[in-house]
């Protein structure tokens, strides 16, 4: 009789250890996703901060590019409004901002004076790098989300995920409807 009690206790203990291990693994991945999301946030904020500086520098040179410049400002405002939203909503707004910025920088190629401006060159490097950092942090975030979601849906961790109600992570896709469009260049 005693014999059986010990076996049952043993099985329960082993099960508990497995559950704890799986649970901790899930929490670790969830924290990784959260951390990766915070990384994206930092870079997006950095881009917000760089834009007013860029506008100030560019203003004197690009008097005939009002439309392009306004598009950037508007996209920035929209993206800032969406900054509290979820990954899907935010991706759309940030995608628009990225596209508008890209167009502005492409147009800037036509202004040799501007391209000789040290301040502009420094800003251009910062913006290029921030753009890269956004896409790399997005890459890492999406990889983390995929790994987390796999764990939530795959046996055996899906059982633990169900018990403790882990929610699937949302991918961060930057939707850019007009990105591939060639930049409009006006010589008026």
């Amino acid at each position: 009789m005693d014999y059986w009690v010990w076996i049952i206790i043993g099985i329960v203990v082993i099960l508990l250890i497995i559950i704890v291990g799986l649970y901790n693994g899930l929490v670790g991945l969830r924290n990784q996703v959260k951390n990766a999301w915070a990384q994206i946030d930092v870079q997006l904020k950095r881009r917000f901060d760089l834009i007013p500086n860029l506008m100030e520098t560019v203003k004197g040179y690009m008097k005939h590019e009002r439309e392009t410049m306004e598009a950037v400002t508007n996209a920035r405002n929209l993206a800032q409004q969406a900054s509290g939203a979820g990954a899907g909503e935010r991706g759309k707004a940030e995608g628009l901002l990225g596209a508008a910025l890209g167009r502005l920088l492409a147009v800037a190629e036509n202004y040799p004076d501007l391209k000789a401006n040290q301040n502009f060159l420094a800003l251009q490097e910062e913006l290029t790098s921030t753009e890269n950092k956004i896409s790399f942090s997005r890459q890492y975030y999406n990889d983390s989300v995929l790994r987390f979601n796999n764990k939530i849906q795959m046996v055996p961790s899906n059982i633990v995920a169900g018990m403790f109600n882990f929610q699937l992570g949302e991918f961060f896709e930057v939707e850019v409807p007009v990105e591939r469009e060639a930049p409009k260049v006006s010589f008026t």
């Binding site: 990784q32 990766a36 990384q39 870079q43 420094a122 490097e125 910062e126 290029t128 790098s129 890269n132 950092k133 790399f136 942090s137 890459q139 890492y140 999406n142 990889d143 983390s144 995929l146 790994r147």
Partner: protein, 407 residues
């Protein structure tokens, strides 16, 4: 990322264990011949190894950085470099930004150091920084960051120290055995049969002392090469752009300026072997790095994506019939990993046209012929320019691996 580190670790641990056993065996012999007590020697070997490891562990990176005269830089000194390091730090998911160092040297090289991912540094020569465009720099830094992320630096430091200890001890013990045995064999010859058994042990000992350092070195090289492939694969994965690293390696391998401050023990830390011979990629078993041409070919063969599985497939394509370089368990990545396009900077038509390149080559050939160079062609189509005082009858073609007759 953990799966990959773990699976690679098992193989590395086996190799490191073999080295450790060799070290202990040498210690045992040492004790046996000096104190007639193997355990004492074992103890001495362990103490030497332990002390050296401690030094390497706690001050290895600062020693390496000061030996190579590296200067620490901040975000405003070299904004592009600092930004690229930060980009790769983000892409790899490293938690802490590594310190960035610069080495004032015309040679083209870079290395990473630091015992754990939270206390790491990346160093690059000014020569390399000037020559690379943004995509190439990203590839190189991605390679270095992955050495940090995969904890290669610690592994290579531990193995380098073990190798050093084995070489030093084996050198002393073999001298002791050869010169010491003469005196002893005379005194112990009275023992009769015992002398003969001792003689056999002595010979085995000497052979082992000669072989051990060589074996240890080969193991060390094998570990190092494996980590290089993994770092290349990781760089492609982080940047999603294998061409960047490939073209950087091409530029680096084209340079023949030797890094003044490199030394043999630190060679595996660099992106490319700092002791490579001019124009030749060193052959396999005795190099810390795989041949550059091969690394470039593998990276360029990654047409379909940037995942580890893709790198492995490209590796097999370059080595027909060979085993892959990254074990299947480690190929777990996020499904299909797409490649990205070159950055805007890269797209500008900087490269000379094929026509112009050919013309330049022709002129170069004429100049070389005037200087009594011989120009021979390999079966694979590669032309080799042989200086007039070249001693050997044939030369190794680094492109196809065959031999080309010079005369």
């Amino acid at each position: 990322m953990w799966e990959q580190i773990r699976a690679n670790r098992t193989k590395s641990i086996i190799l490191v264990t073999v080295m450790a056993v060799m070290l202990l065996a040498i210690g045992y012999f040492l004790g046996f011949y000096i104190f007639e007590n193997g355990i004492a020697g074992l103890f001495i070997a362990l103490v030497i190894w332990f002390v050296m490891t401690l030094i390497a562990f706690y001050s290895g990176d600062s020693i390496l950085l000061s030996l190579s005269k590296a200067k620490k830089i901040g975000p405003n000194d070299y904004p592009r470099l600092y930004n690229v390091v930060e980009e790769m730090k983000i892409a790899s998911g490293l938690e802490k930004m590594p310190d960035v160092y610069i080495i004032d040297d015309k040679a083209l090289n870079a290395f990473a150091t630091g015992r754990d991912p939270n206390k790491a540094s990346v160093a690059i020569t000014t020569g390399l920084l000037e020559r690379l465009n943004r995509d190439e720099l990203q590839g190189v830094i991605g390679h270095e960051i992955s050495h940090i992320k995969n904890r290669d630096v610690l592994l290579m430091a531990i193995t380098a120290v073990m190798l050093g200890t084995i070489v030093i001890l084996a050198w002393y013990v073999s001298r002791l055995l050869i010169f010491g045995s003469m005196g002893r064999s005379r005194s112990s010859s009275r023992g009769g049969g015992g002398g003969q058994a001792q003689m056999i042990i002595l010979i085995v000992g000497i052979v082992f002392m000669i072989l051990a350092p060589i074996l240890a070195q080969l193991i060390y090289y094998a570990i190092s090469r494996k980590r290089e492939y993994l770092a290349d694969a990781s760089s492609a994965l982080y940047t999603r752009y294998p061409e960047g690293l490939a073209s950087a390696l091409e530029k680096i391998s084209g340079s023949t300026v030797e890094l003044k401050t490199a030394n043999k023990a630190t060679a595996p830390m660099y992106i490319i072997n700092p002791f490579r011979k001019k124009g030749m990629s060193l052959s396999n078993a005795t190099s810390t790095h795989p041949p550059v041409m091969e690394r470039i070919r593998i990276l360029r063969a990654m047409a379909g994506g940037a995942s580890f599985a893709e790198y492995d497939q490209a590796f097999r394509q370059v080595h027909p019939g060979g085993k892959g370089v990254i074990s299947p368990a480690t190929q777990y990545t996020a499904g299909v990993v797409g490649l990205r396009e070159a950055s805007a900077e890269e797209k500008q038509p900087e490269k000379p046209t094929r026509e112009r390149m050919n013309r330049t080559r022709e002129v170069e050939d004429v100049m070389l012929r005037l200087n009594k160079y011989r120009i021979v062609q390999c079966a694979c189509g590669t032309k080799w320019k042989i200086p007039p005082d070249f001693p050997d009858p044939d030369v190794l073609c680094t492109k196809c691996g065959g031999r080309v007759k010079v005369r």
